[in-house]
Each structure stands twice: as C-alpha cells, then as structure tokens.
Amino acid sequence: MIVQLLWWVSAFFAVVGAIGIVRFNEVYLRVHANTVCTVGGTMLLLVSLAIQTGSPKYLLLIIFLAITGSAASHIIANAAYESGVKPTDTFKVHGGKDV
C-alpha cells in the first residue's frame, strides 16, 4: 500500500522535474530541476524498493546518489560560471550579486 503510494509520488516528481528541465530558461535553474529529479524521483523510488524487497543494496545506492548528486550539481554550476554563462535577472530580483 505505502509502497505503491511512494511509486506514484516518485513518478510525479520525475515528470515534474523533466518538465522543469524543458521549460526553465537558463543553466542555474536547470540544476534545480536536476535535484528535483534525483531526490524526489530516483531516491524516493529506491526507498520504496528497499521497503518492498528488504535488501540493503538499495540503501547503498541511495547513499551513493546522495553524495555524487550534490557533487555533480556543484561542479556543473561552477564550470558553467567559469566558462562564461551569465545569470539572468532572476538572481538580481532575489538579492544576488550583479555579474
């Protein structure tokens, strides 16, 4: 029962994150949608599979994704900033520094 509920919630987050990847207008907002897909979609689905099967290998994969997902998001945003992709006016509205 709760496993199927977690399946539907993770499918919802996966589709919403993919729509965010398509619809957002710059790189730094797409990194946010990437985190929605990774945490809300994949890690929640792996939690439900760990509950259903009772195997500890799913928890190992969840820990690995929690470490590497944040590191990959950080290095993508850092490389985009260093290679000259300028943030749009979205950051100025919310108090970010002018570039």
Binding site: S10, A18, I21, N34, T53, F64, I75, I76
Partner: protein, 80 residues
C-alpha cells in the same frame, strides 16, 4: 504505469539535450536523464524479478558521475 512516466521523463530530458542552446544545458540534461535511468532500471529489476539489474544500476551511477565530472572539467577549461 510507473515505467511509462519514467520513459516520458527521460524522453523530455533527452529532447532538451538535443535542442539545448548551450553546452552546459546538455550536461545538466544528460546527468538528469542518467539519474532517472538508474531509478528506472532498479524498478524494472523488481518488476521483472531480475536481481542483476541492480548491479547494472550501480555501474551506470558510477559511470555517469565520472562522465559528468570529466565533461565539466573540459567545459571549465582546466583539462589540458
């Protein structure tokens, strides 16, 4: 039904990887598609009762992380 939602999400990410305007957009889209592919393969391993698909999900996680790091360093210009 869950696998259909994941296929639609991966197809949307790959469409952004094809039509992405800049290089960093493609890197983010491919990383998101591989993260969704890990969950899809792990789910199909339970759905089809094939336990070795979880090991394939581990290998895809490691390779996509290394690929993202290397392509980001190349985009940054620090990889000579």
């Amino acid at each position: 039904m869950i696998e259909l939602a994941y296929i639609i999400a991966i197809a949307l990410c790959l469409a952004r990887a094809i039509f992405g305007p800049s290089f960093a957009d493609r890197v983010v889209s491919i990383d998101t598609a591989s993260a969704l592919l890990i969950g899809f393969i792990a789910y199909m391993g339970v759905y089809l009762d094939l336990s070795y698909l979880l090991d394939i999900a581990f290998v895809i996680a490691i390779l996509s992380f290394i690929g993202t790091i290397v392509v980001s360093l190349y985009m940054k210009g620090s990889l000579k």
